[in-house]
Amino acid sequence: MSHSFWSLVFGRLDFDSLDFLKAFFHPDLNDVIVSGASWVVILGAVVTAALLTWFRLWGPLWSKWLISVDHKRIGVMYIVLALIMLARGVLEGVVMRAQQADGLHGGFVSADHFAQLFSTHGTIMIFFMAMPFLTGLINIVVPLQIGARDVSFPMLNSLSLGLTVSGAMLVMISLVIGDFSTGGWTAYPPYTEPDFQPGAGVDYWIWAVTLAGLGSTLTGINFVVTILKERAPGMTLLRMPIFTWNALCTSLLLVFAMPPLTVAGLMLAADRYLGFHFFTNTLGGNMMNYANLFWQFGHPEVYILILPAFGVYGEVIATFSGKRLYGYVTLVIATMAIGFLSFGVWLHHFFTMGQDADVNAVFGIATMLIGIPTGVKVYDWMATMFRGRIRFSVPMVYALAFMVLFVLGGLTGILLANPTVDFQVHNTLFLVAHFHNMLIPGTLFGMLAGYTYWFPKVFGFRLNDRWGYIAAFSWIIGYFLAFMPLYAVGLMGMTRRTVSYTNSAFEPWFLVAGAGAFFVTVALVTLCVQLYVSIRDRELTRDIGGDPWNARTLEWATPSPVPAYNFPVMPHIHALDAFAVAKEAGFGYQEPTSYSDIHLPGNTWAGVIAAVFGTALGFGLVWHMWWLAWLSLAVLAVSLIARALLGDRHPVKIPATEVRRQYRAWLEKVRAVTPVTRALEWDHRNCGVAATEYFEEAAE
């Protein structure tokens, strides 16, 4: 076979790119780790496929999930993706912690391997763990909270998921074929220009992030429209639950913040593929433009990551304090203020780029301004707890840990907002400690709280509490041990992205951080155990009534699991916390006076096509297999245009009689259930119907 034929078919892919073979040819430790990781991916895929075949699950997987446009199923698929990527991201973080614990004058991981680890870890955690997780929760919860049948554009929703999955697939494939970028999650040029990084790594980063970024933009559009247009009658903006408000703000940020990233990525791609010189050293290229574009995305992005978590905490704290949320309007104003301000502060990511002191000072002050609404939010949550009846259920444990730890991150955030201090701690582990302080107690705990909180709504049974507590406390202890020491070593001058060091004073701190990584690993394992135990014992935690937490918002008025059409008839909303008000008045489980036929959108292949051909497009581009790239692009374009022309050809109609039958059957079951007080919240007697307990104000 001639060389040119090979490269026509396989582009620049060659034998050396196959990571899973490396251990056999160069058996040194790093190659063994790389090969091992790729074997895990390969075997994981094979075992999953085998299990699906064995249990004959391909059919249901396809028809019930992959081609479904049901927002709840799409949400679940997002979260499954997020959990898988969380596992990989955490393990990479743990390997880096282990390396640095051993890193005085050396360690066991090579410099290049370490660089790939922090780059994949950062990219995965942001784009393929946190983003899918919050998108999944928004998908599941928002339509239920606003009383909608589905999102405004169900097919588009499936497409967004497909694009996100294709980005994640590229990152997973990079573990098996070729290397990933070493440019960090930010991929700053000129380091990532082809003259410096000619390999496939940066291209993997570009296409993974671009595909996922497109998916996120479309999600943003979808949910802005959904929230503004699909609300049930009576659900005025100021009756929307606080999570939905946060989701609205997040979606707006997605719409306006993702495009700069896509543009920056495509400009970098133009440099790399077409010989442009946007960010090169020569011919007038200037990396400062990349820094500006990237952070015009990057700063709003941190609010995209945190606002949904804020929304979860708002619901969780109100519910588990048995109280109305304090300062609802204040919280709404604070949320929108944060969203607005978040577009005006991006320069704080490069105070050190040499601009004038006036400019730095203005951006520094603008950054500190965001601290005001954020602080007010925390106080509002505290006021929500005030004079409540607080149950320390698992989501509430996350929320309490969040409040205490998050304000410490706020403190270091204020420090970083001051150019004088930033000059010293920028690019050090102090910064790494700060953003993990926001991302773990903030985003990750919020997502895990939401996962625990809404799990019964989606699957009809609660997660196991005991394992939930073990996981939560392992996360909290692990976070604390793994990241508090980094503040110290950062102040002592330890730079980020640094494989090893020569200052022996760092070592004790890194050993403590290593111990923290151990607890984090335990937390990850316990999450898996929790899921297994919960599924095994699901009959003990059945959520028949659909309201296991005595919660306040509309989604808890539906059966668990929620039927595809969400609500038997469109609810009419008369108040904030509509369900709590109804329960209080004794109208919690009313039968509607009349039913009508329900029309639902038909299934679509859009998501699957986007996932498969998006991956193929990215793969073709990464390896310069031009035929594959063109072919995939053509398939994507043709199928999308065809779908647009043909429209939804298989809409589903559910007759009114069927809706009535199902709803009545559920009401029957609810009446048979004994309502429980909150003292029995974790008990197997809690079947999802809440007893009226103390709805009158108790005096001192």
Binding site: Y326, N360, L491
Partner: protein, 369 residues
């Protein structure tokens, strides 16, 4: 320096990045003098006044923080860091950091303390505590909730404005002696320090007299890097084809760790150097030593120096027994070396990868020779 560089080269008008920086900074000069005159009214001006305030603040804070500093720096011999500042810039940055921390604690501490207290007091089992499920707003509470953070941020903003200007890395440090000029070139995995007034250059060590400001101009001849000597002051990016500035000073003699903080490849973790503050007499003799014992830095040797290598590897290549371990001295340095490196990226034609340090092609070319 940049001005002369600009006027001496006609092609520079087309390169907006360098010109942009120069312009931005000259605009900045005006504002700095504004702040200075404002300071006249607020707290007097001039270096003397600043030192007084600094000493006061450092004394009062030192007691408070002694414990934490000891804890953080441990028993290491290499404890020069931001936590033990040894120059006016880092000292003020350090002071500002703790000042912000203390002020911000006013809004942070109530949460750290209050959340556990609230959670315990209003726990489900405590039926003695009052329960007000429908209480969801209080104007009396709303005022402090907003106004306290607003006040804190207002106070912090005033300090931020003042110190950001005072600690502008471009601002020269007031002193009776003229600053020592050092031109810093970032190369892959080492910094090259050029002393234009002495025609010498070093790698792995940057020596300068104590109590005399050092005025640095920085660029790179590869990807972006960031230059920092934590014990003396904060960092500044160094970028190809552009010049940034940094002004530092050491209060005492000593060795301070310096580094690149911006990841730039496999040897990144080795891109450290010693910043050495010595007496003026020692500095003069150090300069003589370098002038006599250095390797010649001509285009050929620069070409080899510029390839990706750590300071130790540079020493193995160019060093000899007269130079300290991992440190390399160069002499006969052309006075336009730094300007030439900056301007190279502003030509009308592209710098080919084989001529661009840090690229794969550049390293390969030298390896094959």
């Amino acid at each position: 320096m940049e001005q002369s560089l600009l006027s001496s080269n006609p092609s520079v008008r087309s390169c907006f990045c360098l010109a942009g920086i120069v312009e931005a900074k000259s605009a900045g000069c005006g504002s700095i003098s504004c702040v200075k005159s404002a300071k006249l009214r607020i707290m007097g001006s001039g270096p003397k006044r600043r030192t007084m305030r600094l000493q006061f603040s450092r004394r009062s804070l030192r007691l408070l923080l002694a414990g934490s500093v000891v804890l953080l720096t441990g028993c290491s011999d290499k404890n020069q860091s931001f936590l033990t500042p040894d120059g006016p810039v880092s000292a003020l940055e350090h002071y500002h950091m703790w000042l912000i921390t203390l002020i911000t604690l006013i809004v942070v501490a109530p949460v750290v303390v209050g959340v556990p207290l609230l959670a315990w007091r209003y726990r489900y089992g405590n039926t003695r505590a009052r329960y007000a499920p429908n209480w969801d707003f209080s104007t009396a509470l709303e005022w402090p909730m907003w106004l306290v953070p607003v006040a804190i941020v207002a106070v912090l903003s005033v300090y931020l404005w003042i110190y950001t200007h005072e600690l502008d890395p471009y601002r020269s440090i007031a002193a009776d002696k003229p600053p020592l000029r050092v031109q810093v070139v970032g190369l892959d995995w080492k910094w090259l320090f050029i002393y234009p007034d002495y025609h010498i250059a070093t790698v792995g060590e940057m020596a300068f007299p104590q109590d005399r400001p050092v005025s640095m101009e920085l660029t790179t001849d590869t990807v972006m890097q960031s230059f920092m000597i934590p014990a003396l002051g904060g960092q500044i990016y160094a970028m190809p084809g552009m010049v940034t500035r940094l002004n530092l000073e050491a209060d005492r003699t000593g060795e301070f760790e310096g580094m690149n903080t911006q990841y730039n490849g496999d040897g990144f973790h080795a891109q450290h150097f010693q910043a050495v503050a010595i007496t003026p007499q020692d500095f003069d003799s150090w300069v003589k030593t370098v002038q006599h014992n250095g390797a010649a830095l001509n285009p050929t040797s620069y070409g080899i120096l510029a390839r990706s290598s750590t300071p130790a590897e540079v020493h193995n290549q160019f060093g000899d027994a007269a130079m300290p371990k991992d440190i390399t001295f160069f002499n006969d340095v052309a006075s336009r070396l730094f300007a030439g490196i900056v301007m190279r990226y502003h030509g009308d034609r592209a710098v080919s990868p084989a001529e661009e340090p840090g690229t794969v092609a550049y390293n390969a070319k030298l390896a094959s020779k």
